[in-house]
Amino acid sequence: MAYTEEELKKELETKEYEYGFYTDIESDTLPKGLNEEIVIAISKKKEEPDWMTEWRLEAFRAWKEMEEPEWANVTYKKPDFQDISYYSAPNKKPKYNSLDEVDPELLDTFKKLGISVDEQKKLAGVAVDIVMDSVSVATTFKKTLAEKGIIFCSISEAIQEHPELVKKYLGTVVPKKDNFYAALNSAVFSDGSFCYIPKGVRCPMELSTYFRINQAGTGQFERTLVIAEEGSYVSYLEGCTAPMRDENQLHAAVVELIALDNAEIKYSTVQNWFPGNKEGKGGVYNFVTKRGLCEKHAKISWTQVETGSAVTWKYPSCILKGDYSIGEFYSIAVTNNFQQADTGTKMIHLGKNTKSTIISKGISAGQSQNSYRGLVQVNSRAENARNFSQCDSLLMGNRCGAHTFPYIEAKNKSAQIEHEATTSKIGEDQIFYCNQRGIDTEKAIALIVNGFSKEVLNKLPMEFAVEAQKLLEISLEGSVG
């Protein structure tokens, strides 16, 4: 006997957030509030050189002058920026050589997350950089990578050891004054990942970062910088979770990608921050600035699966500066209960013969709001620019909303731009078809959603695709349309 719709709904609503545990690790947290002293203190704690401190202060001064943006199609209680602690690090600051030295409790956390470091190390062959409460705690596979000349470490380490690279590229794609949250991040970022692929090197494994907000009342501000030299290739994964808390936590990250001539960067995200409970209480505010710069013949591909966060505000973008460069954006955004997502991309065509593809799938259930917001801009010198965008929305129930805000700006006559969007629900005939073949409604929906999202799921690396598929099922279980 299949569930009744009511039962399913109930089950879905009471579905616990699986990753909502809190790890009791002693941590070193700075007092709440934000001023120049805090910025200097963060910089000092990280033993940063003077130029970095100055860089942060400049960003902070710019941030003070800025106003929080309000144009996004989301409503939320604005965070009180003086009530957040801007630095929280697991206390026994580790500089591990092997995993045995890691605090066993911390390792336990990762096991619960299903990303046990050693297991992954052995089985998946993924090098993981784990950022917990914004401090990088472990980077595996460093040696293997070092042999190829690949640098994969925390950004604070990079500031110490490769200042010339950081100085050259940090803030070039997302300037420190770019927007409110980028400026905030530039001032207070506590850690993040740094990745450098030398000329002509194909990174032999997927690089991965794992983010987790653990401490209460802290914000996470990580900064990721990926540089792919000429002719290199890298695939980069990023995953996020946070414990269950009543208050809203703030996550404001900045990701910068630089793909030099003929390089390719593939950046995948599975975002599963705590989405708040079924009354819409708590959850993470996810305000992220992600942007990539493509030189000649370079390619940047963003893939994201967004299932978590109370409020998501995220537009991974590509600046197609070089001729023949390619930008891609594949996204699945799932919202349930009271989640709100305003996500999309920007494709800025500057070079000749540039190409971009946007595939965005939005699924909304419960009382959530899901928006696609995108910009395709073709500048007057971008001859033969080509863009294809497709935004499909799936609605489950009549208390949720799906919105599309595509901006299309063309200034060149040879531009070829296509945009299409559809909104629909899961058809009764589709479910009926599955039912009569012996597939129950629940499974049928999973199947249909999976099919709906397939174009994007296919773009994810193997290990992630499985996880993402599972996440989709969990997030939507029971929401019969």
Binding site: L395, R399, P406, E409, A410, E418, H419, A421, K425
Partner: protein, 438 residues
Amino acid sequence: MDLKEKLVSSFMAFEDGLDLDHPVHEERSNAMKNFETKGFPTKKDEAWKYTSLKGLQKIDFSIFPKHETTLEYKDVKKYFLHEIDTYKIVFVDGVYSSYLSETTHDGVDVCLMSSAFSKPMFKQVIEVYFNKAASKDESLTSLNTAFSKEGAYIYIPKNKMPKKPIQILHLATGNEAALMLQPRNLIVAEDNAEVQIIERHQSLTGNEVFTNSVTEIFAGKDAIVDYYKVQNDAPTASLVDNTYISQKNSSVVRVHTFSLGGKLIRNNLNFYQNGERIDSTLKGVTILGDKQHVDHHTLVHHAQPNCESHQDYKGIFGDSSTGVFNGKIIVDKIAQKTDAFQQNNNILLSDRSTINSKPQLEIFADDVKCSHGCTIGQLDDEALFYLRSRGIPKKEAKALMMYAFANNVLESVRIPELKARINKIIANKLGVRMGFDL
């Protein structure tokens, strides 16, 4: 003195000549207050992101024309759709010209807003409909409401249909160096009524004209309204056209907008579906050259179940022209079984031309069929080659293809003479001597 100050200060003088006890008076003063607070929209407003009114505000427009002008019919005949017999409501510099017009009270009312405001027999209609669909929030609509005095008044009672189509023509003579016009139209089609209306704004000289027009259309149950906007004005004429349409059960309203000339055109076309099984059609052809700027802002608000809306806007942009399309579809929670379709296709002919398109969906109901498509591209080289290989010169071949591109919109024009006229204007625009009546 900037334009806003000038308008605000002349409002008092404007009111002096009017009946202050009339119920509309309060609407006017409230609207003026709103305009005073909001002022002209700027590029910082999301809805005006791509269209700037800055240049217009620098011009010293005269708000009340100083003297009346009479025009000979033969001089302006070409601006009328003279091939067929129609009712005509003609305004010269904002003042009604009885000599050029042909109104009626025979079963239907085709007359003037000024008489509708003043005569007791229209009082009830004014009370029920005036300013009920128009936005009280949008500043330019408020500005028009504040100065609402003259325009076309069309009232079609139940089960009636006027004998012939109605033309509304606004002529600007250029007697003033720069003239601002604010016509206000009210169109009511009661249950099961039907009406066809053609509207045109025309400046006769190279003097600056700025028209801020508001039209309210009410369609009762099963009513059918066809509204054609012909915008082929002089290169010094600017137009902000605000149209608000309120529809009841099973009514059909079709608005066609032909933006073929003018300096700056902004169309705010708003449909509110207040009933079930409603059909709304919005279609437009835009062909621009020089430094022209056309901005189409459409809104279809699906507030009830089982309704349809169809949008189809085609744009061809040459020289340094700019096109903007912003189509918004809102589907309310209860508006299940909505079928909303929106399409915007554009061709850029020059590297200096720009198109900004923003097809927007906001959907709160799940059992709906909503889709939109937007393309920007060029003429197909292979098709062009095909035509040329059959002996059609390049220019004509291109014109043919552009015409074919726009034809979807023209197909649904229900007055053949109007269609022929538009075809002619398009042929002119494309610089070919072709009829397109293939």
